[in-house]
């Protein structure tokens, strides 16, 4: 994609020489994809990078002007614009400004579902000792308010958090009061399967401005297979809960997420059609997380990343076709990645950041007061792996949590800029580091990129999206732009509902 018009300096005589700005490149369908430090890119003819390295590019050519406009080269006329490039880079890193924004409270481990892929070692519904105590909640709220961020999102999660509704009723007013006292803007979302939701609970959420996020894995046969519960009616309960929640909270305040199991792989169109039938306008084609209970049940839920990528591509094509027919439906991960590729902004999506989002963008306060670097870290702890337990609300401060040994170890491998396989990857500006994922799947936070499912997924998704950009079909691009226009994606609340 070339610039729309030439900057003023392009109207001056061609410069005698030029200098290179830092960039990375890869090969893309017979062309070269050149990406600068701020993520701006140019799809250039084969051989362009060699010409740049040899300093033998014709400075009077249109290609040179494109490269200069994309700040891949500069000359005496454009050197004052280098500050602008630094500003663009800073904009891309905006997510690290201000500190942790997302704070997840695990109010209970109790759950009445027994999902095959659940990352949590669920407890039976009657065991109250797995609920967050008021003392733990008070201290967690204090720590949450110590975050420098002015924008705070509190996510109430489980298990099934509605089984501890009294705990939610304790936390919500206190968190709002603390936010007001600390001059912070607080958003609250509850992540629930909605099976046991009542009008009284929903009315409370409406009055307190609490949003709801739930799970919808697809049509009944698939949802019920993935998410067993007594009565085998998880789907019916979810649909009833969604409709009831929409009626009381409003459509815009009820979101749904799906998880892709092995059983889902052959049914991507049916899953997407279910989201259309239920009048959702976004669907997140998410691979199963390789954590916790999902690992124990790998035989029934697991699959190779290649199979997921086929699922994703087929799904994205189907979603684009649905849009062409007039129904507005976006794919969330595509939207996140395209925002990074096509706009000057980063995104708040925790799982695709460099520095990695764990702890820096999200903290999890477990029912027992333990603090984890991410939801996935907590799930590892449920499997007796405490690598990412950063502390406990009852004995640690924000400072000691961030300076804990587990946190410092994690931060050392949190930047793609310094990781083998990532440091010279053309997609670096759009991707992220995930020490928790690599620890869970490879036993090493640093990670081995050539065998990493995380790397494979993101490389292939980004490459696929660039192929669509390269094709430049006007209707496809109009749809993709409509997804990202005016939006900055936040982390999709939660993994288990």
């Amino acid at each position: 994609m070339a610039r729309t018009f030439f900057p003023f300096e392009n109207l001056t005589p061609s410069p005698a020489s030029f200098s290179l700005l830092p960039f990375r490149f890869t090969r893309l369908n017979g062309k070269e994809l050149i990406v600068n430090e701020a993520g701006e890119f140019l799809i250039a003819p084969n051989g362009t990078v060699q010409q740049l390295a040899d300093q033998r590019l014709d400075t009077g050519s249109e290609l040179y002007r494109d490269l200069k406009a994309k700040q891949i080269v500069f000359d005496e006329a454009s050197s004052p614009l280098l500050d602008q490039l630094a500003t663009k880079i800073r904009s891309k890193f905006d997510q690290i400004n201000g500190g942790t924004k997302l704070h997840i409270f695990v109010v209970t481990l109790r759950c009445e579902h027994s999902c095959h892929y659940c990352q949590v070692s669920r407890q039976t519904t009657s065991r109250g000792q797995y609920d967050m105590s008021t003392g733990t909640a008070d201290r967690a709220i204090e720590l949450m308010m110590e975050s420098p961020s002015k924008e705070i999102t509190l996510e109430l999660q489980g298990g099934e958090p509605l089984l501890a509704f009294d705990t939610i009723q304790y936390i919500v007013p206190r968190a709002k009061e603390a936010a007001k006292a600390n001059g912070k803007h607080l958003s609250i979302v509850v992540t629930s399967n909605l099976a046991c939701v009542t009008d009284e609970i929903l009315t409370y959420f409406r009055d307190e401005g609490v949003k709801a996020s739930t799970s919808l894995d697809g049509p009944a046969f698939l949802h019920n297979k993935n998410r067993p519960r007594p009565g085998n009616n998880s789907y019916e309960k979810a649909i009833e809960g969604i409709e009831r929640a929409r009626a009381i909270l409003g459509y815009q305040n009820v979101a749904a997420l799906m998880t892709t199991t092995a059983a889902s792989l052959g049914h991507v169109k049916e899953i997407i059609d279910e989201y259309v039938r239920r009048e959702f306008h976004s669907v997140f084609l998410r691979p199963i997380s390789p954590y916790g209970f999902a690992i124990k049940t790998k035989q029934s839920t697991g699959y190779e990343m290649d199979r997921f990528l086929d699922f994703y591509k087929e799904g994205l094509a189907h979603i684009l076709e649905i849009n062409r027919k007039g129904y507005r439906l976006s794919e969330t991960y595509t939207k996140i990645v395209l925002t990074k590729i096509l706009t000057p902004h980063g995104t708040g999506y925790v799982d695709l950041q460099s520095p990695a989002g764990e702890a820096l963008n999200v903290l999890v306060y477990n029912y027992n007061g333990d603090v984890f670097a991410s939801d996935e870290s907590r799930m590892l702890a449920e499997m007796n792996d405490l690598t990412f337990r950063l502390g406990n609300v009852h004995r640690d401060s924000r400072r000691s949590i961030f300076l804990s040994e587990p946190a410092l170890k994690m931060f050392q491998v949190a930047c793609t800029q310094s990781l083998a396989g990532c440091s010279d990857c053309a997609f670096q500006a759009y991707c992220g580091a995930d020490p928790v994922y690599h620890h869970a799947t490879q036993g090493d936070m640093y990670g081995h990129r050539p065998t990493s499912g995380f790397c494979k997924r993101n490389m292939e998704v980004i490459r696929h999206l660039f192929s669509l950009i390269q094709e430049n079909d006007p209707e496809t691009m109009r749809i993709l732009w409509s997804w990202i226009a005016g939006q900055t994606e936040k982390r999709e609340p939660s993994l288990c509902a």
């Binding site: 200098s19 290179l20 700005l21 830092p22 960039f23 990375r24 490149f25 890869t26 090969r27 430090e37 990078v49 060699q50 740049l52 390295a53 500069f74 050197s79 280098l82 500050d83 490039l85 630094a86 500003t87 880079i89 800073r90 890193f93 083998a420 396989g421 010279d424 990129r449 050539p450 065998t451």
Partner: protein, 136 residues
């Protein structure tokens, strides 16, 4: 990179590539081997001061045609990494300047990066950001 030395044999299928280290550095070979390590056991033997041989042994059975194709991929990969090294060498100092400037508000810089600074107004401020004028 020299012409194909040997591709594979019935007994011990492998890819062998002779490399002139004055053309492509060891780092480029290592980086290419890193990515090929999924499918191959990689060995790098330095045969002379400026010569090396890379041997790739497939982890799973592969046909001679597949090996020939992967050999071409490997050579392309090495050349691309060599190109990246050249770009990196030319742009490392300005990358440091750009990143330092971009993140200077965080106050995390231990040392001032090398480069050409200017902008009297900014420099006169105790918390001012320096201005980038070009490479060191």
């Amino acid at each position: 990179m020299e012409a194909p030395d040997s591709a594979s044999s019935e007994a011990s299928p492998k890819i062998a590539v002779k490399v002139d280290l004055s053309v492509t550095g060891t780092e480029s070979l290592m980086k290419a081997c890193y990515w090929f390590s999924v499918d191959f056991v990689c060995e790098i033997h330095k045969t002379e001061e400026t010569k090396a041989e890379v041997v790739l042994r497939p982890r799973k059975p592969a046909s001679p045609a597949e090996l020939a194709s992967r050999r071409e991929d490997f050579i392309s990969s090495v050349l691309d990494f060599a190109l990246r090294e050249r770009i990196e060498a030319k742009t490392a100092s300005i990358r440091d300047l750009l990143m330092a400037k971009a993140l200077s508000e965080a106050g995390i810089l231990e040392d001032e990066p090398q480069g050409v600074f200017g902008d009297a107004v900014e420099e006169s401020k105790t918390d001012g950001m320096f201005k980038i004028l070009g490479n060191a």
